[in-house]
């Protein structure tokens, strides 16, 4: 290469030839990797006016451009690489591990501990646990959350989990449906979060004496006697706060991502996405525990959200402090089944009073 350069440079004047050879050598240095490594100190003394500019361009400085668009003046934007690393190296593997791990733990727990039964058996008496409005809001929140969680999971893991099964074309349809469901149902979810926050707040404030003891005994889930609990135990209260505060973060970051028409910059979109996904994975990890305990995990729990009533013995076993307050309002389970309308309303009034 150096010989080439020397041949090209006019050498007619013999007294310049040595000088020219030196110049050619210096110019050629940056293109010879081995020379660059060794001759770094020597070439570093020659200040290349373009170098600083290049460095600035790598720092995402904004230039001017005729093209209108988000960040169109930015020449090179390295933060995209950081976001890529986050999504591909952290979110996807660690998210899968966390959620898969939670499911694994629950399966293991079920195999070892089995369903937590009503120890004394059903009493035939029931007490009112939730009002109609509490149930309606719960199910709206549950349905919207499950739609959002599933569609989000499809967009996050579908490339690895579903494309091999469905093929790219069919998965594309699944993904576009998921994306739109996510973007529209998210707005409904946003409206429900503040309603749910105030609706369940009263029962979810921590009582440090009772709940502290509950936490110390891990709710009796890992053995030992089940600790005392109010209407809502400390675990459920924790779920409330995770769901509500996590929900608030999800709603705020989600709405930000949902409306690119405000021309948000990539930097903000990336940050919002990172916050959104961390909150989502966190809430989902808690959600599977809630789902487990409310359905297959604990006998007699689900009916509280189906007909608003629970068996008196269930209440006594899991929420003894609350049961003491409401045991006088217990009615026959048969009454609830036969004359739902009238008695249920009557009971609700009693429970509200």
């Amino acid at each position: 290469m150096n010989n080439n350069k020397q041949r090209r440079i006019p050498c007619s004047a013999a007294r310049y030839s040595v000088l020219m050879a030196l110049v050619a050598l210096m110019l050629a240095l940056p293109f010879a990797p081995q020379a660059r490594a060794e001759g770094g100190e020597a070439t570093g003394k020659v200040v290349n006016p373009g170098t600083e500019l290049w460095r600035e361009a790598r720092d995402a400085i904004k230039g001017t451009t005729q093209v209108e668009g988000v960040d169109s003046g930015v020449l090179i934007y390295d933060a995209g690489e950081r976001w890529r690393q986050y999504r591909m190296q952290q979110l996807v593997p660690y998210g899968a591990m966390l959620l898969g791990g939670m499911l694994g733990i629950l399966v293991l727990y079920y195999l070892i501990r089995g369903k937590i039964r009503i120890e004394a058996g059903r009493s035939g008496k029931v007490v009112r646990r939730y009002t109609a409005s509490e149930m309606v809001v719960h199910w709206f929140l549950a349905i919207t959350f499950v739609i959002l969680a599933l569609s989000g999971l499809i967009l996050l893991f579908g490339r690895w989990a579903l494309i091999p099964v469905l093929g790219p074309e069919v998965f594309s349809i699944v993904a576009v449906v998921s994306k739109n469901l996510h973007n529209y149902v998210g707005l409904l979810f946003s409206a429900l979060i503040p309603i749910a926050f105030f609706l369940y707040l009263k029962d979810s404030l921590f009582n440090f004496k009772v709940d502290g003891k509950w936490f110390r005994r891990l709710g009796g889930y890992l053995g030992g006697e089940e600790p005392s609990a109010e209407k809502v135990n400390a675990g459920q209260k924790s779920w409330y706060w995770v769901a509500m505060l996590g929900g608030l973060v999800l709603v705020a970051s989600g709405l930000f991502l949902d409306f690119p028409n405000f021309q948000q910059s990539r930097e903000w979109l990336q940050s919002a996405h990172i916050i959104h996904t961390i909150a989502a994975v966190g809430v989902m990890a808690f959600f599977v525990v809630h789902l487990y305990l409310a359905t297959v995990g604990v006998e007699g729990a689900l009916e509280s959200m189906v007909n608003g009533h629970v068996d008196a013995n269930w209440a006594k076993q899991h929420h003894d402090l609350w049961y003491e307050q409401v045991k006088d309002t217990a009615i026959d389970a048969q009454t609830l089944k036969s004359g739902e309308g009238g008695s249920a309303i009557g009971e609700r009034k009693a429970a509200d009073a």
């Binding site: 790598r58 400085i61 668009g69 090179i76 934007y77 490339r159 028409n261």
Partner: protein, 211 residues
């Protein structure tokens, strides 16, 4: 096998925007979408430089890595293309791309962006070469006709070079030798360094001169 690359010579670009116009015309790019743009740094001050930027057809393309539906593919010529039938318009490629290449026909409420559009190196898409369908979705396929991208072909100062990476860097190296100044291949460090070597901001944007 050729490895197609773009190279914009910042010492030559005069910000005439002919490449932008040529691209829009050749590919019937819809309003609001600009596959190529010219950015001027230090406009009006000493050291002003202009650069024409579009998709650089990266070796380890971030857009392809983050795409949730895996709609990107790299052709035998090293051109990064995508399938608009599979694209769901989520915008992740736009988040990840260092060059701001992915464009969307809309930025509506509820994340409605439409199918992503970007520079194809005038190589169309997955449809049959130069079919009506390909033309409608991706614009021209000059590569299939043995031609190079029109932006570079139109460039009056020959600032924008497009073609096989070896040929492009040979031309550029010769220029640098003669003018004895900046030998910076803008964007090549980001676009063409080998996967795994890229370390975000730590990587110097120096000429690689080879691939």
């Amino acid at each position: 096998m050729a490895r197609m690359k773009f190279l914009c010579d910042a010492e030559r670009c005069i910000e005439c925007n002919a490449c932008v116009t040529a691209c829009k015309n050749e590919n019937d790019v819809p309003w609001g979408v600009n596959r190529r743009r010219v950015v001027t740094i230090n406009d009006g001050s000493p050291g002003e430089r202009s650069m024409s930027v579009a998709c650089m057809h990266c070796s380890d393309a971030p857009c392809a890595a983050v795409c949730p539906v895996d709609c990107f593919y790299t052709t035998d010529d090293g051109v990064v293309l995508h399938d608009k039938d599979v694209c769901i318009g989520c915008g992740y490629c736009f988040y990840a791309c260092p060059f701001g290449a992915p464009q969307f026909p809309a930025t509506g409420a509820f994340g409605s962006r439409g199918k992503m559009d970007k520079c194809t190196f005038c190589a169309g898409g997955p449809e049959a070469d130069n079919s009506a369908e390909e033309r409608r979705k991706y614009g021209s396929n000059r590569l299939a006709e043995g031609k190079l991208p029109l932006c570079a072909e139109m460039c009056a100062t020959r600032a924008l070079l497009a073609g096989d990476g070896d040929t492009v860097s040979d031309i550029f190296r010769e220029r640098v030798t003669w003018r004895g100044s900046s030998g910076l291949t803008w964007g090549w460090g980001v676009a063409y360094s080998k996967p795994g070597l890229r370390r975000g901001r730590d990587v110097e944007g120096k000429a690689t001169g080879q691939d």
